[in-house]
């Protein structure tokens, strides 16, 4: 189909929703392209699930529109019921039908025809669970239940699949594996997916696009690399990934701070001079180094195997954390020289004035 | 089984239908009985087991199918009152006069013909002529001879201190309330209230029904009970005279405690088969019907010439208080009074 990748699978415009006096969603705009995976990242209780439920049709928005495959499913004037939206839902807990076996669950949304069985087998293959058709939900492990829930959502070939905290209830060891399997299944089904998560690492690793939901608004919607390297605000910078925040002074294309004079990634939007907040990622700090170096005292270190985190007192009252490769970890108490690799971000200091 | 003789003379006189005096040979009743036919619905406060043989006989001789609806007389009256003109009932066969009076008060009964009314003495039928007694039942004191070797004979003797807490009665029973209604008629409202208040002060023990009162007296739970005369005979018939302790004490002549109430019958105005209904009423008053009650339930037959069961004093010898049973229809007022003195509920 021509232009398939251009026409969005999901388009959300100006969506608002309040419960009583509390605004949960406050003007959400979001576009999800067909075949892509978008993560909605936000703190717990930040309205992510509400957004997902509005998209699925379980809640009615106060204002704004939701379009799926170019047709409006929710607007002030109409609200298409969930069963006619073609949105596959994978709830956090899986929510398998306890009274049906796996085949019954997966085939729930399929018409009773000759293709039904083949489709059930196909999607079970997709999620990597062949041969569980006759099992009952309580006989499956947590990860298996989850994949069956995904297979059930995929079976009727929805326009988009929404997954609510899909990996939150799984233990850490299982999580990475299930995540890979789910991603593979989504890819195999060539499905558009919207994943709601509070885990920034998860969001950055699985999504083509991450929308960060803070205080009922989309703070930034970008590909994971941009989001991480060029966050749109200080809040975002600290929310997505680990960040060292230091006070600094803008000097044209550079900024002066406790780590020396650093290059700014983007000085537009900043005043030509003045106090700012500087964000440095731990992995940008190198020890030892050549070039412009700043001295610091090692306070403590945490060893992770392939690398470690070192807390360093810069002597001016600020403490930074550096990610250092294994084998180069300095001892606590040692004086080290530090330098910063690559450009950094800076934001107008909203505290000052 | 001996085929009983049935006289349909009254029936014939009333409806101008030819009726033969049935002979005593076995097949005459079926061939000579007037063909009435049809179906009637009888609301009966008298139990089916009791009256079924009688009703079967009626059906056989008249060709009338009887649809029997059993229940408590009072409940059936309440049902009739609620149904009003729309009632499917043709005949109401009640355990007591009060329920009949209540239905009559609402104007739901048709008037019976004089010839039918004439069978029964005036004191045992409605003055309105709308219902008629089919059998009589005397109020008596039942007593446990061990606990009450010298039982009282008047209601005022019941008020003696020795009987405090030892008298059983059935406060919601229609016969009891008919007795109190009679008391109101005989002694006036104030007189009745005075007796009832004194009676209430005796801490009488309430039971759900008369048979429970009798059984309580029998086992000695209470010494005395206020019930109808036939409960003791029923128990003797069921369990044998040796097993029964409780005895009847017939009340002194003219005392309100010896009220004779009736079971009776009336025909609904809304009946769609008044002919068959009238035939049933006549049948109940016929010799065969009257004999049936005398022998089966130990009640007093009301038709002249039909003997009472063995061992019972005659109805005339009881010399019950003279009262118009039609006045027993003020049960509601009685109930108010009983409530006020705390005897209906506590």
């Amino acid at each position: 189909m021509a232009g398939e990748r251009v026409k969005p699978a999901l388009e959300v415009c100006g969506l608002t929703k309040s419960f009583g006096t509390h605004w949960v969603l406050d003007g959400i705009d979001l576009v999800v392209l067909r075949g892509s995976v978008t993560a909605i990242l936000g703190p717990s209780g930040g309205g992510k699930t509400t957004l997902l439920r509005i998209i699925a049709g379980f809640e009615v928005p106060d204002a704004g529109t939701v379009m799926i495959d170019g047709s409006t499913v929710a607007s002030p004037s109409e609200n298409v019921p969930p069963e006619r939206r073609r949105v596959g839902v994978v709830p956090q807990e899986g929510a398998l039908f306890p009274h049906l076996d796996v085949a019954g669950n997966v085939g729930f949304g399929l018409p009773r025809n000759s293709e039904r069985n083949d489709r059930i087998d196909h999607v079970l293959d997709l999620v990597g669970l062949p041969g569980v058709r006759r099992m009952r939900p309580h006989q499956l492990s947590g990860g298996q239940q989850h994949r069956v829930a995904l297979a059930r959502a995929l079976a009727p070939r929805p326009s988009i699949v929404v997954l609510d905290e899909p990996f939150a209830s799984l233990d850490a060891g299982l999580r990475a594996q299930v995540r890979d399997e789910v991603l593979a299944a989504l890819e195999g089904a060539n499905t558009t997916a919207l994943i709601v998560t509070h885990d920034q690492q998860e969001a950055l690793s699985v999504a083509d696009q991450v929308a960060v939901l803070l205080d009922g608004r989309i703070a930034q919607c970008a590909d994971p690399v941009t989001l991480y390297e060029a966050p749109a605000s200080l809040d975002l910078a600290t929310f997505v990934g680990e960040a060292i925040v230091l006070d600094g002074e803008v000097e044209g294309e550079t900024v002066r701070c406790g780590l020396g004079i650093l290059d700014l990634r983007d000085s537009s939007g900043l005043p030509g001079a003045g106090r700012v907040r500087v964000v440095v990622r731990p992995e940008q700090i190198e020890i030892p180094s050549a070039g412009r170096a700043v001295a610091g005292t090692v306070l403590s270190r945490v060893f992770y195997g392939h690398d470690g985190l070192v807390r360093i007192d810069l002597g001016d009252g600020s403490i930074v954390t550096a990610r250092v490769q294994a084998g180069r970890l300095p001892e606590p108490g040692a004086t080290v020289a530090l330098c910063v690799r690559g450009p950094v971000s800076a934001f107008v200091d909203s505290r000052s004035s | 089984m001996r085929r009983a003789t049935v006289r349909f003379g009254l029936f014939a006189a009333a409806f101008g239908v030819f009726a033969a005096s049935c002979g005593s040979d076995d097949n005459s009743s079926s061939s000579d009985a007037p063909a009435v036919g049809g179906t009637i619905t009888v609301y009966s406060g008298r139990s089916e087991d009791l009256v079924k043989p009688l009703l079967d006989q009626f059906s056989e001789s008249t060709g009338v199918t009887v649809e029997f609806r059993g229940g408590d007389s009072g409940e059936l009256a309440a049902q009739l009152l609620t149904e009003g003109d729309a009632s499917p009932a043709d005949v109401f066969f009640s355990q007591d006069a009060g329920a009949l009076g209540a239905v009559d008060n609402e104007g739901l009964f048709a008037t019976l013909v004089d010839d039918v009314l004439a069978v029964v003495p005036a004191e045992y039928r409605a003055t309105s002529g709308n219902w008629i007694g089919t059998s009589g039942r005397a109020r008596v004191f039942v007593y446990n001879p061990e606990l009450a070797p010298e039982p009282p004979t008047t209601i005022d003797e019941l008020l003696e201190p020795q009987w405090k807490g030892k008298i059983g009665f059935a406060p919601t029973n229609a016969s009891w309330q008919s007795f109190v209604t009679g008391l109101r008629v005989l002694r006036g409202e104030d007189g009745a209230r005075a007796w009832l208040e004194a009676f209430a002060a005796q801490d009488p023990v309430p039971f759900e029904k008369n048979s429970a009162v009798r059984d309580a007296v029998n086992i000695g739970e209470v010494a005395l009970g206020l019930v109808n005369h036939y409960y003791v005979y029923e128990k003797i018939a069921a369990e044998g005279a040796d097993a029964v302790v409780v005895k009847n004490q017939f009340v002194a002549p003219g005392d309100p405690g010896g009220l004779v109430n009736v079971a009776g019958v009336g025909i609904l105005k809304s009946s769609d088969n008044p002919v068959a209904s009238a035939a049933l009423v006549e049948f109940l008053l016929s010799e065969i019907g009257q004999k049936f009650f005398a022998e089966t339930t130990y009640e007093y037959p009301l038709r002249a010439g039909v003997p009472t069961a063995d061992g019972l004093p005659s109805l005339d010898s009881l010399d019950p208080p003279s009262i118009d049973l039609g006045d027993l229809d003020t049960i509601a007022a009685t109930q108010e009074l009983l409530s006020d003195v705390g005897l209906l509920t506590r």
Partner: protein, 499 residues
């Protein structure tokens, strides 16, 4: 729509009552209510209610816990036996006791009999709810340092609270409306007086005023139960479905548990049956033909099945509505079905006569109107059971079904109903049994010529013919016990934990 219909049916008696209550003017109403005795009656009925409700809660929950969560040997059979008192009519049980020891009559006797015949109203939903609880939650509580008893009280019982309170409400309403037991035990309650007003007083307006007072009390109870139940969300949150619990070891407490079960079963089932058998043998019941018992049995079963089907069809929408669409209207609809349950049978019966001859004349004294009477009486039994089990199924599951293309109606049919099936089956069982032994409505509304076991039994006992009563009573108990056993078995047993 069916839910609204259910509410209308349930409230039909109230229409009649108000009509009758004001028929003699409001002065009469005020007079009647101001009597010192009215307050007295309220207190007497409430005292009975409170005592029986408390006792049944203890018996019901203890019994449920023993057979569902403990390792009591023979619990599979006991599970069924413990529901059997449902098959014993209160008037039969009361009569069995009081005819054995007349001194039992009074408050104590009434409490004893009503507790023994009505604890299954708590036991059954409690057992069903206990099965649904995720044992992991209890394990967590234990691991957090809570003792076994502490866990049971603090967590387990709190979780089955909605089921227990719903059951207790049924018990309370049952006690308010019961006539058979209080009459036999000579405990003068509201119902006693209402019966008197009808059958001896021919005073429907007085009966109506008292019955409306009873309705008010019932309303207070229903609302209070709603408060207690609160909005507790008892659905499981977490991955997957619950696994079966590992039975709690009773150890040395086993004999105590057996003693408890033996006392409850002996007094609730064994003793009444023994008395009935005693009547049959002692009085040589030969007068009753087997064919008349069979005919009455057939009619009883036919009517009970019809009533169960009708009630369940109406109760499912009401129960689902009450849980899934919480709001004033759904709450009002649900509660309205309960109010009629507090009405003594005679009131419902006379009310249906009133309604029947006026607007349903073709069905008057025919099966449909009688079944309607059973519906009015039994609706809350089924609604409570359905509601409890719907509460235990997760909304998420239903939402998923919607997203898979199911209309709300299809969701109700394909997901909610199958999940609520245990509750629906419990409801159907309760309706079946209640209908089977129901007396006042049957007596007033049965098609002329149709006799049931209960009407035959009444006819026999009303003339103190125990010999004739025996076979009908025995048939009632036996054929009530069979469906109780089958349904309870189907409902409360699940595959034992796989190990």
């Amino acid at each position: 729509m069916p839910a609204v219909l259910a509410a209308v049916i349930a409230l039909a008696p109230i229409w009649y009552l108000i009509d009758r209550a004001v028929s003699r003017g409001l002065i009469e109403v005020v007079d009647e209510l101001w009597r010192r005795r009215t307050l007295d009656l309220v207190l007497r009925s409430l005292a009975l209610c409170a005592a029986v409700t408390a006792i049944t809660a203890v018996i019901g929950v203890t019994a449920a816990w023993l057979v569902v969560r403990s390792d009591l040997p023979g619990r599979a059979a006991l599970r069924i036996l413990l529901a059997l008192p449902l098959a014993i009519p209160s008037y039969l049980a009361a009569f069995a006791w009081v005819s054995w020891r007349p001194q039992l009559a009074g408050f104590g006797g009434a409490v004893l009999v009503l507790s023994l015949v009505s604890y299954p109203f708590v036991y059954l939903p409690a057992a069903a709810a206990l099965r649904h609880i995720d044992p992991a939650q209890e394990e967590v509580a234990r691991s957090l340092g809570r003792g076994r008893i502490h866990t049971a009280v603090g967590l387990t019982f709190r979780q089955i609270k909605p089921a227990v309170t719903a059951g207790s409400l049924l018990v309370a309403l049952y006690v308010l409306s019961d006539f058979g037991a209080v009459a036999a035990m000579r405990y003068e309650s509201f119902t006693w007086v209402i019966y008197g007003a009808y059958r001896a007083g021919f005073n429907p307006s007085r009966a109506a005023i008292l019955a409306l007072t009873l309705v008010l009390i019932a309303l207070v109870l229903v609302v209070a139960e709603g408060r207690v139940r609160g909005r507790a969300d008892t659905a499981r949150v977490g991955s997957g479905t619950a696994r079966a619990a590992t039975p709690v070891r009773l150890g040395r407490a086993t004999p105590v548990a057996y003693l408890f079960v033996a006392v409850v079963l002996g007094a609730g089932v064994g003793f009444p049956i023994y008395r009935v058998v005693h009547w049959v043998t002692a009085y040589q019941s030969t007068s009753v033909g087997l064919d008349s018992v069979a005919a009455a049995l057939f009619e009883t079963l036919r009517l009970s099945i019809l009533a169960s089907v009708a009630v369940v069809l109406l109760a499912v929408p009401v129960g689902v509505l009450a849980v899934r669409y919480r709001g004033r209207t759904s709450a009002a609809i649900e509660r309205s079905t309960f109010v009629a349950h507090a009405l003594p049978g005679i009131v419902v019966a006379i009310a249906l006569v009133f309604v029947g001859v006026r607007i349903l004349r073709p069905f008057y004294l025919e099966t449909p109107l009688l079944v309607l009477g059973y519906v009015v009486l039994c609706l809350p039994l089924a609604v409570a059971a359905v509601r409890t089990s719907v509460e235990l199924s997760s909304v998420r599951v239903e939402e998923v079904a919607r997203s898979l293309g199911c209309t709300p109606r299809a969701v109700a049919w394909r997901v909610t109903t199958p999940l609520a099936l245990p509750g629906i089956a419990v409801g159907a069982a309760l309706v079946f049994l209640t209908t089977m032994k129901e007396l006042p409505i049957t007596l007033v509304l049965h098609p002329t010529g149709v006799e049931t076991l209960a009407t035959r039994l009444w006819a026999a006992t009303s003339v103190s013919d125990y010999a004739a009563a025996g076979p009908y009573a025995l048939a009632l108990v036996i054929f009530g016990a069979i469906p109780t056993a089958l349904l309870t078995g189907a409902v409360t047993s699940r595959s034992e934990p796989a190990r």
